[in-house]
């Protein structure tokens, strides 16, 4: 039994064990989670996503180091690797990071790989972020690999989402990126000493212009704008800034941290901080309802009857929709 006091007093082993319970969705963890949740809601959740090879992990390490040195805030990193669904991988990242950060008790690093069913990862990551928030980590960085739907879902958890690019990853990728760009609060061009950095930045500017018609002058990005192209919109609008970094050398990190802070200010001023939190909690409640109902239902249906319905579906004598309808209508009761 994990004691809530252990978590709150910074017992890292207890925290690790609780996160493992969260990952495995063990019911015995729920009492502590319920209690912890009441203390949460203070952390700034920062999502970091982008294509493989852009140097996200180095960037996240630099961010963590900077927050530690400059602000003394406690930092947690959740490294999510949805591309290893079969091996349960995501260990390498941990090892590499240990060297820089693991001696600092103000930093907590956790890797998570895909488990369970559809949507399971986003759900588990949300729960882990809540635990770390309640445990007193003021900055929780959620790093995801790739640019698929699951990354977008995970990005939605965050208050501030960084999309990381790097020069020369191929121009045919640009069209693809349009989708992921829409979730970016801050665009980072990492590895900015590589050739092609100006092209990359130009391409991003072009896409931002399409996505944000109010972005008339580049200098204004990264601030709360109160005028849109029509001149009428008085709501504060966030125009994603483009920040160049060179994470392995720590260059650009202060500027990036500054942009993140400005975004947090914008969220609080505009009320979006609250609305993002609410959206996240609402979808968490909905997911839990779905899961619980499905679990209850399966327990109420005798296994042999369920299997016989399934085999009619397997033999194409009954469609999945009809099968579910007849199950819900009590065919197996």
């Amino acid at each position: 039994m994990i004691q809530i006091e252990s978590i709150l007093t910074g017992d890292r082993l207890a925290l690790s064990r609780l996160l493992t319970q969260v990952e495995n969705d063990v019911p015995e963890g729920h009492a502590v989670l319920n209690e912890l949740f009441l203390r949460g809601g203070k952390a700034h959740l920062i999502g970091v996503t982008g294509a493989p090879g852009t140097g996200k992990s180095s960037l996240v390490n630099q961010l963590a180091l900077h927050y530690r040195k400059q602000t003394g805030k406690r930092v947690a990193i959740i490294a999510v690797d949805p591309t290893s669904p079969f091996t349960g991988g995501a260990l390498l990242g941990d090892r590499v990071r240990m060297r820089d950060l693991s001696c600092d008790t103000g930093v907590f690093i956790r890797s998570m790989a895909t488990r369970g069913s559809l949507g399971g990862l986003a759900h588990t990551t949300a729960a882990a972020a809540q635990v770390l928030d309640s445990a007193g980590y003021e900055i929780v960085i959620i790093e995801t690999v790739g640019a698929g739907q699951s990354e977008v879902d995970i990005a939605r958890l965050a208050h501030t989402t960084l999309v990381v690019e790097s020069p020369g990853l191929g121009d045919d990728i640009q069209a693809i990126k349009a989708g992921i760009l829409e979730i970016a609060d801050i665009l980072v061009i990492n590895k900015s000493v590589l050739p092609g950095v100006d092209n990359s930045e130009r391409a991003l500017h072009g896409m931002l212009d399409l996505a944000h018609p109010s972005r008339r002058v580049y200098q204004h990005h990264g601030r709360s704008e109160t005028v849109d192209a029509s001149g009428w919109n008085k709501e504060p609008v966030w125009i994603p800034p483009i920040v160049r970094t060179m994470a392995v050398e720590g260059k650009g990190t202060p500027e990036l941290v500054d942009a993140i802070a400005r975004h947090a200010d914008h969220l609080r001023q505009s009320g979006e901080w609250t609305s993002r939190e609410h959206a996240r909690l609402r979808s968490e409640v909905e997911a839990l309802i779905q899961e619980s109902l499905a679990r209850q239902f399966r327990l109420s249906v005798p296994e042999d009857c369920y299997q016989s319905v399934l085999s009619e579906v397997f033999n194409h004598r009954l469609s999945p929709w009809s099968a579910v309808q007849s199950l819900l209508d009590g065919r197996c009761k």
Copy 2:
């Protein structure tokens, strides 16, 4: 009201309308879907995935052209673009393809972008594949962009999954690919005239050796092996072959089609064809149960009571788990 006869006699407009109903999850489509499902289960579903920039779309076009010319089979292509969740994009691909394939009534192309909630895309794609199967398309190619969880989920729909690589996309990507490799039935190195193709092939061989300890000699890949490294395993084992292609010129397409046919033979001989179908249908039934139960439940709970529970969660006075428990215990009844 869409008539099932229209679908079965090849009315493309009716088919398009039905797929739109599937995408939007319109209940009125269900009667036709139920009926169509009883005629399905014949198509070979081929998944094609891989990083952006590998030339997947050209490859899919070449495959479709080859099947049309050499076998006369009817071919459907579902192009899934999960990276454009907000714009509902995925139109460009259609346009580009039109030129090569659209005059052929034996080819049907459909783009799908992300809609709705978690897992929604895999679910919708599965339903669309079933419709196309039932409508008489013998080859259904499901193409996905990226390498995240959603692509893996979509790949699981297919009987045969192609993972497309291309030379020189960066060696730091290799480690990432290990996960996606595990879903590959056939590895394709496209753009095989580019420099670095030998390195790419060597790297893939290395990863295959790790993933398939029974793969002692490269020459054997792409056939049903009946002996593993221990010499004892008499079950047929599929060793993923590596096929080089140059899709824009059509090079390697016959070899790829041949490998796909051998894989289908392997699946049928080993019984895996059936087990993959069953797994897919089982998870479809489970997803539908979850959705239906959640919908019923929400209808049974008065909105104002539900909202008041949510606001306790928003204010961190009640955890999501406790909230769901109290809702299920009838707090709002």
